[in-house]
Every structure is written in C-alpha cells, then in structure tokens.
C-alpha cells in the first residue's frame, strides 16, 4: 500500500466529501452577528429539559439528527460515528450515541475534538473502513462553567481576556457523494505546553499549538499562506489570535487577514464576552454553517481548518499545573467542478 503520510499530514487519495452539516446554537450565540447562519436556535439553555446536561445532550442529538436528515441518510446507514464534548467521560456524546443504532467512538481533544473527528473519519474512509461517517461535537456554557470553574451566580471578577464557552453543537456527515467540499488532508498535532497557568487565558495557552500545527502543515505540504484562502482557527479568541499572529510572524509567516477565529467571531467581538467564545461548539457550528456556505459560494476555495484544544481539568488547575494544548488541522477544499 502506498504511503499516504507526509510528516504529520495524511494525504487522502480519495478525499471524503462533507455531505451535510447541521448546527444548533444557544441563546447568547443567537444574539451574535452570525445567528442567521445556524440551523436552530435555543432560547432556553436547558432546551426544555430539567438539567443543563440533558439540555446539551438534546442539543447535540438534534444536531446529529438534523445533519442525517440533510444528508438523506438514517442512523443505520452510518458506518461509524465519532463524537465528543467537553464534559467528564464524554457524557454528552455517549448519551447521544445511546439513542442511535450506530457504532460509536468517543473522542477527546478538548476544543479540537471536532477537527479530530473529521480527520479520523476521513482517514477511516480513505482507508476503506467506512463509507459514511458522522463527526459531531458540542459544548455548553452552563455545563462547562460548573465543571471547570465556579457556580454561575458566584460573583467572581473575570479579566478582560476571559473567553466564554459557546453553547453550540455541530454535526458533519462524511460520504462519497454530494456536498460541495471535501477533506483532502489532515495534520495531526502534538501536545504543546509553554507554561500558561491562567485558566482564564486559554487562548494564549492554545496559540502555540495552533502555530505549531499550521507550520507543520506548511512544511509537510510545502505550502504557505498563499496556498490557502482562509486559515480558520477554532477558539483562540481575540487575545489568542494576536498571540498566534505574533508567533507566526516570528517565523516569517505573514498570514495577515487570512486568519480567522471561530470563537473570536461568534459573539461579534463585544466587550461583555471578553476575548470571545471558546468551546468545541464554536468551531463545530461555525465552520459548517458559516464557512462551508461561503466556500460553496466560491469565496474560499481552500481552507485550513485548525481545531485548538486546551487540555486542562478543574483539578489540574488547582494543582497549579500549566495548561497543555493540542491542535489538529484539516484541509477542506471546494470540489473541482462541484
């Protein structure tokens, strides 16, 4: 079998299509400038359930269902489902899979989980192990806040660079037919830790991992920013994006306004949201609902989609550990003639 890897990058001989995508966002995200792009909006973070966790689960489950509908397939047609979220034991994804008649692998890279899912799904399909894969991820402000920080109504003061977890879920159906974009490459990241200890500044903690994976992708494929129409990072926020820009410029990579960050964009940069959104829901909803339509419209032909994850837990923070980060990237292109 031919070698399909260059450095850390999988090169797909048969690039899987992103056949369909669906997203659901929470109340705060529905007020943002991209609100109309998302498929469904919640006006209640519990989604009518009696706990936030059940609300998140229902949100993620509905996103998966909706994406299957859009792709005109049933759960039984799906060979493999890859999903994850930010809660301990991947409890949201597990409970989504409980209700579906589909083989399931739970995956975790914090907020890079969605890109990890797209990478693995595409690799398994190109490797011949599956013909239809669903990759989904979700995050939820209330469930994440209580797991990682303090009760919501507790009056602690946050610094101006704090990010707010996005309440959103996104689900992607990968197949061989239909859709207008496909995944041509996937670059697998290493865990990077440059010693950031402030759990309110995850963007800065993740920026080095994002820089690392972007440089690696360029090196493996002998590319530069000129080869991409957009370099989309997951949830660095406004501060993390600045740090990333500085790190890249030090390596003489001038990405300039080709850089965009899902978390930084999703709330429209308003001061009350600090540095912007975080959480895997940001990239899971934003890429599929905002960027893919713009790719279809021809605005972007080739996008480097970088998921960024901060690998911390409430306990590691209390134990004064620094915050390691990971980033994975996929190259998504408009299908020629598509």
């Amino acid at each position: 079998m031919a070698v399909k890897t260059k450095g850390q990058t999988f090169v797909f001989a048969n690039p899987p299509h992103i056949v369909a995508h669906a997203s659901i966002v929470g109340p705060e995200e529905s007020k943002g400038p991209y609100s109309e792009y998302f498929d469904l909006h919640l006006d209640d973070a519990k989604y009518g359930e009696d706990s936030w966790e059940k609300g998140e689960e229902r949100m993620a489950a509905n996103a998966v269902d909706l994406s299957l509908d859009k792709a005109s397939v049933t759960a039984a047609d799906v060979d493999l489902m890859l999903g994850g979220d930010l809660l301990n034991q991947l409890i949201t994804a597990d409970f989504v899979a409980r209700d579906l008649d589909t083989p399931f692998l739970g995956i975790y890279s914090a907020c890079a989980t969605l890109v990890e899912g797209l990478s693995l799904g595409a690799a398994l399909m190109d490797g011949g192990f599956a013909d239809c894969v669903v990759a989904f991820a979700s995050s939820h402000y209330q469930t994440a806040e209580r797991q990682y920080r303090t009760p919501l109504e507790y009056g602690v003061q946050y610094p101006p660079y704090k990010q707010f977890t996005v309440t959103a879920a996104g689900s992607y159906v990968l197949g061989w037919l239909g859709g207008d974009v496909w995944i041509t490459h996937a670059t697998m990241g290493k865990v990077i830790d440059l010693g950031v200890t402030d759990p309110n500044d995850l963007g800065s903690a993740m920026a080095p991992a994002a820089a690392e994976i972007i440089l690696q992708n360029f090196k493996d494929l002998n590319r530069s920013p000129a080869d991409y129409d957009l370099i989309l990072t997951g949830d660095l926020g406004l501060t993390g994006k600045k740090v990333l820009t500085t790190l890249l410029e030090e390596k003489n990579i001038m990405a300039g306004d080709k850089l965009m960050d899902c978390g930084g964009e999703i709330f429209g940069g308003q001061e009350q949201y600090g540095s912007g959104g975080s959480g895997v829901g940001a990239s899971a909803a934003f890429f599929g609902s905002v960027i893919i339509p713009r790719m279809k419209a021809g605005e972007f032909r080739r996008v480097l989609f970088v998921g960024t994850g901060a690998l911390l837990s409430a306990l590691t923070v209390k134990q004064k550990e620094s915050i390691p980060a990971i980033a994975h990237a996929v190259v998504v292109e408009k299908i020629p003639g598509g």
Binding site: G195, P208, V243
Partner: protein
C-alpha cells in the same frame, strides 16, 4: 523536533504584550466604592435597628449582618450579584453579602441534582474554607490566650 521552540519565559513576554491590560487602578476604586457602600448600608441598618427596635448595639449589628446576608442572597437569586461581582471584584466579594453569595450560588447551581445531594451537599462548597479556617484560628487564638493568659 517541534516547530515552536520557545522557553516559557519568552512566551510569557508575548502573552503579556498581547493580553488586554487589567486596569488595576480602576479596579481598586471600583472595589473601594462598592465595598464602602455595602458597609455604609450595613451601618444604616444597624442604626435603624437600634433606633426603631431598641436592639443593643451588638444585637443591632448582628441583625444588620443578617439583613445584609439576606440582601446578598436575594441579589444572587435575582441574577444580579454576579454582575456586581464582575464590576466590583473584591468590593462585593469581601463583605458578608459576598459570603451569602458564596452560599446561595452553589445552592442554586446544584438544585438540579436534588435537595439532599445537590443543594445540601454543596451549600458550603465555596464558603466552607472561610468557616473552617475561621473556627480553627479562633480555637488556636483562644488556646494561646488560655495557655499564656491573654
């Protein structure tokens, strides 16, 4: 070999440069104003309890404290105290209203896990250290005074 080879100190400098600055002077005055105002309100209640309910100064102080605890708890329930906290920082953290906030916030938060293992078990999840160390230090101070005749 990783592409980004920085020491943590080099990286720290970049982060400090790019982070939006915290306005410490403004934070000090906001904490001062809000904290001072809360204490002032407490003093007003104390005087009122003395003037209209004939409480002794000590009892009026205790009643004022309970009133402030109630107000802090109410503002927490009404989803206002966290906003005050974001503005005032230590100004709303340090007064006893902040202690009430620290008790009510987890009580509300864990309601969905039930009354016993939710609310009951989490009431002291934030305020616990204050009571624990207050009691231990009170004991130690009292012990020292007993031993060495304070």
């Amino acid at each position: 070999m990783k592409n980004i080879n920085k020491t943590t100190d080099e990286f720290k400098k970049i982060v400090q440069k790019e982070q939006p600055p915290v306005n410490k002077t403004a934070n000090f005055f906001k904490a001062f104003l809000v904290g001072g105002t809360i204490c002032l309100i407490g003093q007003v209640f104390q005087e009122l309890y003395m003037a209209f309910f004939n409480y002794s100064q000590q009892d009026a102080g205790t009643m004022a404290t309970i009133t402030m605890i109630f107000l802090g708890g109410l503002l927490t329930g009404l989803d206002i105290y966290d906003e005050i906290g974001q503005f005032a920082g230590a100004g709303s953290l340090v007064p006893v209203t902040g202690f009430a906030n620290a008790m009510v916030a987890p009580a509300l938060e864990y309601k969905q896990e039930g009354f016993i293992i939710g609310i009951g078990a989490n009431l002291f999840s934030i305020a616990g250290p204050v009571l624990a160390y207050g009691m231990v230090s009170a004991f130690i101070v009292g012990l020292l005074q007993t031993l060495f005749g304070g």
